[in-house]
Symmetry: C7
Subunit: 73 residues, 7 copies
């Protein structure tokens, strides 16, 4: 078993599209530009997706403590 | 009595399927790839299970502060 | 007065059955295998007890920040 | 004015009965055996008191972040 | 402008009566005996005041994270 | 671009009247006497303003974790 | 892949107008003057935007733990 760390999965997703599920139930999708140990996340070409609609956000920095999980598309 | 630590139980579950119970009541099941001291968890072949349905998630990084408990299947 | 620390009470309960009361009102009972300073807890032969039913959990790692109190049976 | 610290009041209460008021409105009373800087508290002969009833708990370790206040009887 | 720190205001209130407003809307009044950097507070001759009644508490240690603000009478 | 820090804005407001918006929706206005890195704030001649009324508070120390934002008048 | 950090996106937005989405659903827009590692943010010419109205705030320091995400306009 190699000594992977969970944030290695995010590292592999840099430059690719990921989906962020927020604690409030909404989702934000975008191209992962950068992240840090708090799971603060910088997305480009981002859009917010809730149960009713999609909203274009462009560049967005999501504060990590709002995140439930992140998943590469 | 040996000096086990609670995260040793997760270490033994690496490469196996575990169930994550979230504070919001949902569950996420998947193969445990990696975790850290915050109990941030990297799962492969994950799916989210709530009271109504299962949703395929694939690769997912769950932020540890959302977790109620983790249990090997 | 000896210089006891509160987690000494958990240390004495290692290998014995304890009950964990969660902040959400549920309880988890099981044999205490290990714990740490965050009160992350590893239980064996665990079962979750809420107002309506008991659910077998087997091995479980409870994240400490969900815990209201722990009590040896 | 002496340089008292607030936890000195708990130190004076060791071996005596105290009441813990929880953030959720319940109370736990018991003999204070030990506490730490997080105000994690070890009580003996404890009982939980809510608006409707008293429940015998025996030995209990209350995680400090649930506590509103503590008061010697 | 002198280099005051906000807790200096509490230091000046030692031995005097202060009112603690809690996040849950209740108030606790008492004579300030000691406090620390977390704003854990030790009060003597304390009483809890909510919208309906006053309750005598005597000696009380309020965990700082419950406090909205403190105010000397 | 100079290397300003966000709390420099509070430093410039010392001795002047500021408005504190709380997470619970209320506001507290007063003369800023001191603050620290947690944004604990010491106000003089303070008053609490909610949707229904103003309440004189005099000297008040607001615990920083209750604050949504601060704004010089 | 360069070693960007998520707060670099905020650094590039200094002196420009950004939108802060708060956890409570409101938004605050303004010219970004400064920020720190907690994502405490200093805005000039700020206004608060909720579902019903816009409110002029002028200079404002938003405590970082209220922020859901930040986005350059």
């Amino acid at each position: 078993m190699t000594t992977n760390r969970p944030l290695d999965a995010l590292d592999q997703a840099k430059g690719k599209r990921i989906i962020i599920r927020l604690k409030n139930g909404d989702q934000i999708a975008g191209v992962l530009k950068a992240f840090d140990l708090h799971i603060n996340v910088w997305l480009e070409d981002a859009e917010q997706i809730n149960s009713e609609k999609k909203i274009k956000l462009g560049t967005v920095i999501v504060r990590g403590d709002n995140i439930l999980f992140a998943s590469p598309e």
